[in-house]
Amino acid sequence: MYPPSLVVTFTKKSSVKMAKLTSLFVILLSFFCISEAVFEDQVGKFDWRQQYVGKTLFAHFESNTQSSKKMFVATDKNIFASFNSRTGDLLWRHVDKTGPEGTIDILLLHGQDALMVVGDGRLLRSWDTNIGGLNWEVVLDTGSFQAACFVAIQDTVKLVAVLKKAAISLHYLSNGHQKWVENLPDSDAVQYQAVYSGGEEEVYVLGVVPNSHLTIIAYSLEDGEIIKQRSVEASWLSSVESSCVVVGQGVLMCVDPATLALYTLPIQAEETPEFSQILLQVLYLSPTVSPGFQPVLVSSQPHPARSPLSEFFLQLGPDHHVLLQLNADGYTIAPLRDFQPAFLVSFATTGKKTVAAVMTPKNETVSRHRVVSFINYTAVSKPRWLSPLPFPLQACAINLFSVDSGRRLLDTTVLFPLEPNGGKPHMLYVHAFLKKDDSVGYRVLVQTQDHALTFIQQPGRVVWTREEALADVVTMEMVDLPLTGTQAELEGEFGKKAGKEHGLFPMVLKRLSSQVTLLQAWLAHLWKLFYEARKPRSQVKNEVTIETLSRDEFNLQKMMVMVTASGKLFGIDSKSGSILWKHYLENVQPNAAFKLIVQRTTAHFPHPPQCTLLIKDKDTGLATLHVFNPIFGRKSHIALPALPRPILQSLLLPVIDQDYAKVLLLVDDQYKVTAFPSTKNVLQQLQEMASSIFFYLIRSEHGNLSGFRLRKDLSTERIWEVVLPTEVQKIVAVKGKRPNEHVHSQGRVMGDRSVLYKYLNPNLLAVVTESTDAHPERAFVGVFLVDGVTGRIIHEAVQRKARGPVHFVHSENWVVYEYWNTKSRRNEFSVLELFEGTELYNSTVFSSLDRPHLPQVLQQTYIFPSPITTMEATLTEKGITSRHLLVGLPSGAILSLPKMFLDPRRPEVVTEHSREENLIPYAPEMPIRTEWFINYNQTVARVKGIYTAPSGLESTCLVVAYGLDIYQTRVYPSKQFDVLKDDYDYVLISSVLFALFFATMISKRLAQVKLLNRAWR
């Protein structure tokens, strides 16, 4: 370990050298303390980045040839991206604004152009799909987007029609110029929902007055004149969008779930003012549509210049599809094939041929149990197919069917393996192509409920899988890897349990045997090295699997446990970034709150490590616990406590039970506490120390902070309450200190070599409020430092003319926060540091209940030249290494900002003492140096959070930045003082040593000979 006194001496030395060159001081100092940037040959050595796009909404394949490699997706994260379909790698990606402004409403693909409507009809964009460049972009008129389609003139697609709530506009595909725009008649009453063009001279707009009538308007392509307009009585129809499609030669096909009937209406024809009804019974279809299920029609229009196919799918239940054909007369329907069970269906067209891909469960048992699954399906279920099937499904089969006849095409079966802990298939995108022998081949992209994309080739080979759930990581933890068997054995030898019941002799034997096993392991390692050295380098693969996972020498490799918003958990190896396990939790609400707790680390061999995920349903307030082993991802079979009441918060105690698991307290809405695990031992311990267990709760909507003390019977009493009036300000965030944070130095050394002791209150909370008044003159940001045990407000700092969002870090004895200054219109960093003074009040114990003196608070503010998205502080094993702030910028860079720049003791006037202390003179501007970017050119899009974890090396801190992308690296805030450099010249040093050694030997011999000769003379 690095002796801290040495640091002091060296810094002193440097400071005096710089005494006279005050202007050079900062520059020299920064050279002296930081050079963060990586070298070119270190790129990718300790870091990796994974890019994601999010949950796919629209997916298209490039062209219908076998050799095409591109596919395009638009996602719920407002991203338009292209994948290489052979590898699953991103070819290019466009990240738009978050929120509704960047929402992709629709993605249409025609040839080389991808058309996109963005931001609820705000913009129309055309992209070149080859290189991902923007062809053009036009701003559309206001009004919410309804539908869009390509419009062809004389068999060539030249236009795109965009239907808005009150207007329809046509744009040229080539340059985006508007051909015409027309207001829709009577748009207040009529909800226009669909636009259709089948290659004729007109474009049709379909609107509905719910439960009254349907309106069809035909516009002339030339000038936008209304050619015809008519309304058809349809009292059963509530939405065109959800229950109608256009099939065949412009026939509108609608389904009515109430009467279980299909309705047809020719759109173009003038003479039929009525829908013609076809009851499903007539078609000999099972009339038992599962209760609560809305039948869905699926049709396909292979080419915009031609009318849609006359074949279409009718989905009658979650796993019941029927392929139907509209006969040429336009009234009658012929059933082609009944698919039951069938989860997903999709049309695909290649050349002249159109096929239907149908996904069916592979197991024979499915059909037997189908009834059961139907019963489970209730009206309150999600619109998606979410009802868990009561049997484990191993695989699904996908088959191609000829659309014309409903006949199954031979040799088209593709198996889709379902993971035991994965999601069910959700969407099917088929890429069909003609093989050389003119038969239809296909590849298929399956999207599962856990947002994973799987690309499968015939015959059932999984080409790649993308875990798109990782685009929305909510929380994460890093867990140490377990020791290897031999390490664990040694550990066991010196463990607590060993040696108590054994005598001296067995201990010696055990020691010897463990040494032998160590020797064996070492020899095996050597043999492996030797064996691998003979192989060419390309063949040697260091594949990480769960079996080979073990802690490395410096504990630099850890398991990243990531919790995503979709409810899928991942275990990722921090060294390589490979996903080692995944577990999908099926019944997780989209807006659920997660809290991940490490209850037992790997340090307690042979007890397995244990993580607990607290999932709280926002609607009901009820919480569930998911207990799992973070190394293998397996669910632990531990008796979970019953949680009948909504859970407000949880609290992890440093108390451990007899199995070394930390005790988790769950506080419910009656302020009763449930302990987990709740063995007798734990309850007894809790009773003993109940009076020293406190917790605080913050209700943002009431502006209420309250503190509670635990009673012996596990009920609580409120001991303090602070109310911040919600009409003035609202509590935005609160942060305590990280429980695994170590502070090595209890004070700061002043220039006169006295000590300014830090106010290290482990119970301190930083509460940030924002004013409800957003006016730039009256807006403010408040930072309250509150003692969580007593409720005492230690300090309050109010930043006037400031606005959020506030990002802040609370660590050691300081709080750093960033806000927007509305007066000067710039981002500012402010730092608060708390000191106890030159005397310690009580150096042995810290009790919030016995602290008569308030700390001294120092504050300074700096201008930061960029907005930020997130902020975190580095963390090391012992806290000796200086701290850096890791700042995520909107540009995707992660800045490692030395904390010494954010020091409220930076002097305005340089004095002897401040120089002695190495304080940088105060400058309001905070620099951003490019070498501080720890992720060089590996930008991390939309950084949402940064997680830091200590490693076994004091100098090294592991960093994971997550957002849309995931980036993992290591940082060395005080440089690598405890390891040899990467490029350390072992050869040179050892050769010099050997040379010196031999030189000494030889010269010694020579000297002896010479002495002997002289004696003989």
Binding site: K12, I647, L648, F694, F695, I698, L760
Partner: protein, 187 residues
């Protein structure tokens, strides 16, 4: 110092020719060469063996010798004290920066008095003959102590002595936490 016998008539002389003999005593007169020849030429005075016509210095202990010893002993005893002004000058010149030369100097300054104090018995042997042995010993040790005090002062002014609370900061254990606290925003 010339030996008295060397000037004697039958004196002793070296014979250049003889290789094996380093010296020889010639008892016969006449064929003596060198100075003896000249003396015999000047006057044939026979002196007995070992006679010298020059006065032999008085080698008996006299009062002045005593003083000399005393003086010498005082020199030894005052040596460390005499070095102090010199040390002060060097101290002033070297300044309070911490670099290799001032450090070496301080080490020397500190080490020499300590070394001297460690070899106190040898010094006492030197001072054995003096009457004021104890006083001189005292002065000697005081001088050395002063020298080391000076070195310590130098260390102090250079900031090498752990005299401040900041020097013991690294050894302060973090205080034990009395309360356990947790919680947060209502989930």
């Amino acid at each position: 110092m010339a030996t008295p016998g060397g000037q004697g008539g039958g004196a002793l002389s070296t014979r250049g020719g003889a290789r094996r003999m380093k010296w020889a005593l010639e008892l016969t007169l006449g064929n003596a060469r060198g100075r003896g020849d000249r003396q015999s030429n000047q006057g044939d005075v026979m002196y007995p063996i070992g006679y010298s016509d020059k006065p032999v210095p008085d080698t008996s202990i006299q009062e002045s010798d005593k003083n000399l010893v005393e003086k010498r002993c005082w020199d030894v005893a005052l040596g460390p004290l005499k070095q102090i002004p010199m040390n002060l000058f060097i101290m002033y010149m070297s300044g309070n920066t911490i670099s290799i030369f001032p450090i070496m100097m301080v080490c020397m300054m500190a080490w020499r008095p300590i070394q001297a104090l460690m070899s106190m018995s040898a010094t006492f042997k030197l001072l054995e003959n003096s009457n004021q042995q104890w006083l001189q010993g005292l002065v000697y040790s005081v001088g050395n102590l002063l020298g080391s005090a000076l070195a310590i002062y130098k260390c102090q002014s250079m900031g090498l002595l752990p005299t401040h609370s900041s020097d013991w900061l690294a050894f302060i254990e973090p205080p034990v936490r009395m309360e356990i606290m947790g919680g947060g925003m209502v989930l």
